[in-house]
Symmetry: C2
Subunit: 313 residues, 2 copies
Amino acid sequence: MPRRFAVLGTGALGGFYGAKLQKAGHEVHFLVHSDYAHVRRQGLAITSKDGNFTLPEVNAYHSAADMPQCDVALIALKTTNNHLVPAMLPHVCAEKGTIVFLQNGFGEEERIAPVAGARKIIAGLCFICAEKTGPGAVLHTDYGYVRFAEYTGNGAPAGVTAACRNLVDDFRMAGIDADCQNDYLLARWRKLVWNIPFNGLSVVLNANTLQIISDSRSRRLVWSLMEEVVTGAAACGKTIPAPFIQEMITATEKMAPYFPSMKHDYDAGREMEIVSMYGNPLAAVKQKNMTLPKIQTLYDDLRTLENQNIGSS
Amino acid sequence: MPRRFAVLGTGALGGFYGAKLQKAGHEVHFLVHSDYAHVRRQGLAITSKDGNFTLPEVNAYHSAADMPQCDVALIALKTTNNHLVPAMLPHVCAEKGTIVFLQNGFGEEERIAPVAGARKIIAGLCFICAEKTGPGAVLHTDYGYVRFAEYTGNGAPAGVTAACRNLVDDFRMAGIDADCQNDYLLARWRKLVWNIPFNGLSVVLNANTLQIISDSRSRRLVWSLMEEVVTGAAACGKTIPAPFIQEMITATEKMAPYFPSMKHDYDAGREMEIVSMYGNPLAAVKQKNMTLPKIQTLYDDLRTLENQNIGSS
């Protein structure tokens, strides 16, 4: 039966997944920042490899305080705005509802847990190539599936939970490939295997995925950064099998050349998701008395480039 | 008594030191590449913090084969052209003469040794801020001293040798601060402590020395790269005391903001001295079964950026 969804952040991911859910019959409420006036008037336009569609009318809000409590809150903000979530939560998510982090990065579930009350917390890992191309307009070029995994306070696997299964059902009914993972922390680490090299190097090397993977030096650097992610995961008790690195390389070779979101943020002079994607995993590993020097180097490069770029150093 | 000098490569360093030696009464022969016609006609013009001067007439050559055998051959090419030196040597340097590498980088003395015969091989480490500003024109903005140290085949200190003392005398008489070091390999490693972070980061971060040192993140990265150089030196049996890092940081803070030579090369689309400055020390350390992951990361970044820049990947 249809559920009520809040979409916090109507960028590429929030816009795409929220629109698909609304199209499938769910009641969806969108928190919209810069595009509010446009979306209120003209709705959302999705250009997708799976079929284009428009939603001329959507429930758009400029403030979370005006939104109704929903069964599911899909957090699709940039992680740099996650500090706003605790104040939004009572407005947008029922007390026994579900919070889903449709974000990259690491450690965001831990940060919301203290204020989540009885709400379930789910990691929603999006494997999708999509970008916002204009106000209320999303272009979806490749992939699209979502892996859900329920958060546990101690890092142990939650197994396949009811909250996860319900999300998988809703997303699949909306035409989105989805599955349920046992272990949210392992799932987060696995996602970092790709995100850590390609997001950062696209900025530092001013190159897209194909360029990065085609040059023998940067390809080797990608490989060794991925190895460090696997090392970091192991330090945190999560085993990623070695062949996974080759799988990620092969998947990237098959992908249409792509500038990851961090590169778009950098080029636009916006804050990058450096803390969530690099700082938090580095901190987690440091707690285990281990260092990841190549990732640390990339992190320091990115922080410096961001300070120059935004001019706030 | 005046000696006969060959200057191989009349860029910023070769032009500056060669001109100072000629002005002091030595017979100097300049190998000039791109500026040959200009220098042959108009000589050299030095703009220096220590006093400007011009040499309207210099001995300029377009080919080393036309040059006379000299007492001292000052190698001031880019290290990327050092493969040309063996063929030049019989023409430009007497059989009992002295070869001086007025270059940054690492491992170049080892490479010339097999063809040097009875010639002495000297590392000449230049601490100078200078750049070529036009044909035959050098701008010298800061520092200027040279540290000479004689090469030994086994990496052991040569002590203060006669060949070194002669060079120190000649340079000092020409108004160039100079001294003699016991240990060429230690001197090379010490120079890398500054060169490895600042040359590479100026390219990767598109920043000058002051910008790099002023941002807390890149300053920390500089520090950890310097620590890796010290670690590499130790692996090769050379001890650099820990306070040396702070000295280098302090010296950089006092320096006029400066783009190192690698940044000039990158911006001009020229080959960078990556192999000599990064590849060779990394290889030396690898032979000791050690890795320097942050330097390796910077090396991989630079090689990738160079391939993109020159378009020869």
